[in-house]
């Protein structure tokens, strides 16, 4: 049996976990659910030895431990597969799987043939066939994940944590992953899915533990829970999915018109339009092309055919600057690497894009004006900071996302495209950010939200496009936008 008994952990006064107990038996497929800020990643860190609990015990088989080192955790069979998989990109699949045991056995020499054998055996155990000599960077994300699982198996894993495992997978790949997890089950390995994607969780998990604010709010066999119950336990709110977005009059002008755009290998014949004040949701599985469409509309990748016009004028998209001069803004997917300048001040982050709008003679910045603008936006978006000259790293995820939003709102775009705007944001901020987006729409901005967060899309969008393998496969409007109808379209 694996798990914890009464674990508590605090970081400098803030309690991350309070008296958390949960259990998994060998062969269990368990789900650890919770929103951002619930404490689930702290729990994983404690179980894998990266953090030590302040009190309570860690249960690993027969042992009850007060603390653990990462090496001990691996030796006792606990492994975590994070979203980056921790693989070596320039080494082969076989080496990634087999080298870890070579290390354990303290081998000095590496035998490619033996490595291939070891790797093939591990992959066999999960019923997967991969090119053993391919370098890890050349294989798709889903295969990388399988390599990581095979490696864990090779190291004798007994308890496997998978952190947000399905984020980067297509439907087919998710199916494959789930069948692999089932074969892990047969081998007696306990798998814990750490996730907040309720639909997938319900499909594969057998039991569930739900955390909220560091406390276990519910647990038990999955059959005992329906979507609403899980959601309630996770968020504490009775999220009855009230639509946020009020109606848009049909005679409003079209702001963004996309006609038949294609980009080889990314998307094909995509057409849609967005009116002023409208919020268009674009969703689809990863790899469906939804990301690619968003980035292409911002000029990050080339559109090979078709036309894009803003406010009636066709535009040539050649890089982000052309998009911005046409009035398009883009809040990117990865806040930390693409959206923010972490070690720069909040003020600088907010004005990063607008600098060029505030230039006076000889390229000098109009300091007072730009500061006023920054202060306005910091207040408007309720960015919680005592000093806008603090670095962006001092903010929480939700506030960081507001900084990125502020940066784009300061540009007064006609069209604002947001890619995954509430990923990694706590519950409270999530709602507020969506409300900010709705407010901007009410002011006349045309908004496109690309997201795989179905509840969020249902809440906010006037219309929804479902993208499938690079093409628009469905368009839902009004009352047709419900979670079940969207899930049906996605699975089609």
């Amino acid at each position: 049996m694996f798990g914890t008994d009464g674990i508590s952990k605090a970081f400098g006064g803030a309690k991350a976990l309070s008296n958390v107990s949960f259990q998994v038996t060998p062969g269990d497929i368990h789900c650890l659910a919770g929103e951002n800020g619930s404490g689930k990643s702290t729990l994983i860190k404690i179980m894998s030895g990266v953090e030590t609990p302040d009190s309570g015990t860690i249960i690993l088989g027969e042992e009850r431990l007060k603390s653990l080192t990462p090496r001990e955790a691996v030796a006792k069979g606990v492994q975590v597969i994070f979203q980056d998989f921790s693989l070596i990109p320039n080494l082969s699949v076989a080496e990634n799987i087999a080298l870890s045991t070579d290390l354990l056995e303290k081998r000095k020499f590496v035998n490619p043939a033996r490595n291939r054998e070891v790797a093939a055996k591990a992959l066999d155990l999960i019923g997967v066939d991969l090119d053993l000599d391919a370098t890890v960077q050349s294989i798709p994300v889903s295969s990388k994940q399988l390599v990581a699982i095979a490696r864990a198996l090779n190291q004798g894993v007994k308890l496997l944590f998978m952190d947000e495992a399905t984020t980067a997978l297509t439907r087919k790949e998710i199916d494959q992953l789930f069948s692999v997890v089932r074969s892990l089950k047969e081998k007696g390995v306990a798998t814990v899915f750490v996730s907040h994607k309720l639909d997938e969780v319900q499909e594969i998990a057998e039991s569930i533990t739900i955390l909220r604010n560091g406390v276990v709010t519910a647990e038990g066999p999955i059959a005992d829970f329906d979507r609403k119950a899980i959601s309630l336990a996770m968020t504490g709110l009775d999220v009855t999915e009230v639509r946020l977005a009020p109606e848009v009059p049909s005679d409003t002008a079209t702001v963004l018109e996309v006609s038949n755009i294609s980009s080889k290998g990314r998307f094909k014949n995509v057409s849609f339009s967005v009116k002023a004040g409208e919020i268009l949701g674009i969703t689809g599985l990863l790899g469906s092309g939804r990301n690619e469409i968003a980035e292409a509309l911002f000029g990050m990748t080339a559109i090979e055919s078709g036309e894009v016009s803003v406010k009636g004028t066709p535009i040539a998209l050649k890089g982000p600057r052309s998009a911005v001069s046409a009035g398009i803004g883009y809040v990117p997917q990865d806040r930390l690497t693409q959206g923010l300048f972490l070690n720069q001040s909040i003020r600088r982050n907010v004005m990063a894009s607008a600098i060029e709008r505030f230039l006076g003679a000889a390229g000098f910045i109009k300091g007072a004006e730009i500061n006023d603008t920054v202060n306005t936006w910091v207040t408007d978006l309720k960015i919680k900071t005592d000093n806008p000259d603090n670095p962006a790293t001092s903010l929480s995820g939700g506030n960081q996302q507001r900084v990125v939003l502020a940066k784009w709102l300061a540009m007064s775009p006609s069209v604002l495209i947001l890619n995954g705007p509430t990923v990694g944001v706590d519950i409270g901020s999530k709602r507020e950010i969506l409300e900010i987006i709705r407010d901007k729409a009410l002011e006349g901005m045309a908004i496109v939200i690309v997201s795989d967060d179905i509840p969020e899309i249902v809440q906010i969008a006037h219309r929804v496009l479902v993208v499938h393998q690079g093409e628009v496969s469905a368009e839902l409007t009004d009352t047709a936008i419900t979670e079940s109808s969207l899930y049906k379209e996605l699975a089609a």
């Binding site: 970081f11 400098g12 006064g13 803030a14 991350a16 951002n36 800020g37 619930s38 404490g39 689930k40 990643s41 702290t42 990050m300 982000p320 600057r321 998009a323 911005v324 883009y330 990117p332 690497t337 693409q338 959206g339 923010l340 300048f341 972490l342 070690n343 720069q344 600088r348 990063a352 894009s353 600098i355 060029e356 505030f358 230039l359 000889a362 390229g363 000098f364 910045i365 300091g367 903010l395 929480s396 995820g397 940066k407 990694g424 944001v425 706590d426």
Partner: protein
Amino acid sequence: MKDISRDLTRRLLSDRKLTQLIVVALIVFLAFSILVPDLFLTPRNFVSMAFQIPEIALLALGVMLAMLTAGIDLSVVSMSNLAALSTAYLLVTQVTDGGGNVYLWIVIAIVIGIVVGLISGLANGAIIAGVGVTPILATLATLTLYNGIAVGIRNGQSIIGLPPEFTAIGNGSFLGIPIPMIILLVAGAGVALYINKTGLGMQSVLVGANQEAATYSAIGVKKVLLMTYTLSGGLSALAGLIIASRSASANPDYGSSYVLLAIVIVVLGGVNPYGGFGTVTGVILATAVLQMVSSGFNALRFSQFFYQLAQGFVLIAVMILNTYVDKRRMRAKKDKAPKES
């Protein structure tokens, strides 16, 4: 007047790195004053330092600009020599004794020198931003190329015998301040203004902080890099002209040890080699510190090789210190509440 000085003092002291540097400067000053007062604490020595600081500080400012964008410019010395040679060549061939148009030719020669610097810097920028070669490799290659061109056009020989009207610039003073120092202060102020008050300047800091985010923020990264390296070329040319003026000669291989010195200065001056932070004040102050060390060593009869040893040592010591200070700051942050878990 009082307000300005109070403001300046407050700003200087609020920057922790700058405070540390001031402390270091004071320590170095005191150390050499105590050890060799009769050679170090003379007005002559300080005037001599005031003449020598500008050329190196200008080179260091060029490197700083590149480092702000998370890059580096190793070709500053070669660009400086090339510019110096161009100016010297023009002066030596066009200026005949005592002709009335000496000053005209000096102006033209100076302009040509600066243009040579700007063009070589622009070429660096094009290779880095346009072709996409990493700054280390690109400027290592151009350093050889520019040096090679400087050697080739004069068959390896130096140019000597520059007209006294020109050398007066490098060796003269105005209102008691050496002219090269005035040039440095003006150029330094210009660079500071560029970084803090112009659009491109602020964008270069952002590019250095996170190039990907800069692209996603619709910042013209290529434009910024081109400007950065062009300016570095211009600053190097200024340095070269001052060198030529002071020594009345231009030499294709002058100052080969200055690259290490420039980087020591830049790191000591608080510039972050990973990009995103640096101040002109820090760089100039750091140059002064190293110049004091050089003159102090001279007074103590240490060889120039020992000076090189000291430079390497200082560079490494400062980097280690920075690493430890950062590590301690990171640890302090970790103990506070994590943002999301």
